[in-house]
């Protein structure tokens, strides 16, 4: 997992029926923070950009499946 997530610890009740998940995660990808994109940001190589889905590392948001 990358740094593009936040964690919180939900309340765990004493009588919950199932084993608790102690920490919960949610995505906070870069578009939430960038504002208007500045000019001349560093770029991926064309091949890398095609594979990643964006030309700019500043907008790249890796995601790993939760069960991995």
């Amino acid at each position: 997992m990358s740094e593009q997530y936040r964690v919180y610890a939900p309340f765990i009740g004493p009588f919950d029926p199932c084993p608790p998940i102690k920490l919960k995660y949610y995505s906070t990808p870069p578009q939430l923070f960038l504002g208007f994109q500045p000019q001349n940001l560093p770029q991926f190589s064309p091949y890398e950009a095609l594979a990643k889905g964006t030309l700019w590392p500043a907008l790249f948001s890796p995601y790993e499946p939760k069960n991995s």
Binding site: S27, K52, G53, T54, P65, N67
Partner: protein, 189 residues
């Protein structure tokens, strides 16, 4: 007018025979936050939005159709060789009864697509905020789809599509900034 290029925007390879995944993927085909809803929403809103952002809606709406094709390809590959018995086991018995192996615009629960999923309010800020929300919801849907398969090749294509939602959201947010800056001429960006 459109020019069609007979290839996918990003390669779709499916390595695991998992017809059940097709049932989940159909959410992005005919679901409320799916690619069809996105394409039709943007390509319709663009007529009544300030000139400066019409092109953005055209470009993104067009790209959503390219994504729709990728989802269709995934669903087709996962179902085309399945027996009726396999489809029933995968939870696609209802689908088979209604559509054989044809694709259809419905969500993962089989609810058919409806124009009520999309809005064109005519207010540029209201419309763009809906578009941003739509991109974030589609991004989340891709996350849950990635979580639900262990096929790394399918995950790869889904990760590409998720990244495109991130970029589209960024561009819609910039469109809002452009429309905000128009009046006061505050060029703070």
């Amino acid at each position: 007018m459109w020019v069609y290029e007979k290839k996918l925007q990003y390669p779709v390879r499916v390595s695991k025979c998992d017809p059940r995944m097709a049932r989940y993927l159909i959410e992005q085909y005919g679901g409320a936050d799916g690619e069809l809803a996105a394409a039709l929403r943007y390509l319709n809103q663009r007529y009544t939005i300030p000139d400066k952002v019409i092109g953005l809606l055209t470009d993104i709406g067009t790209e959503e159709f390219a994504h729709l094709e990728m989802i269709a390809t995934m669903v087709y590959k996962l179902t085309k060789d399945a027996t009726v018995e396999q489809l029933k086991e995968a939870g696609l018995g209802d689908h088979y009864a209604n559509h054989d192996k044809a694709l259809f615009y419905n969500n993962a629960a089989g609810v058919p697509w409806t124009a009520a999923y999309i809005q064109a309010k005519g207010d540029p800020i209201a419309d763009l905020y809906e578009d941003i929300a739509a991109e974030e919801k589609a991004r989340a849907t891709y996350q849950w789809l990635i979580d639900m398969t262990d096929d790394v090749d399918l995950q790869d294509s889904l990760k590409f599509l998720r990244e495109r939602e991130v970029v589209h959201s960024q561009r819609f947010r910039e469109a809002v900034e452009i429309l905000k800056a128009e009046q006061g001429k505050k060029t703070f960006y």
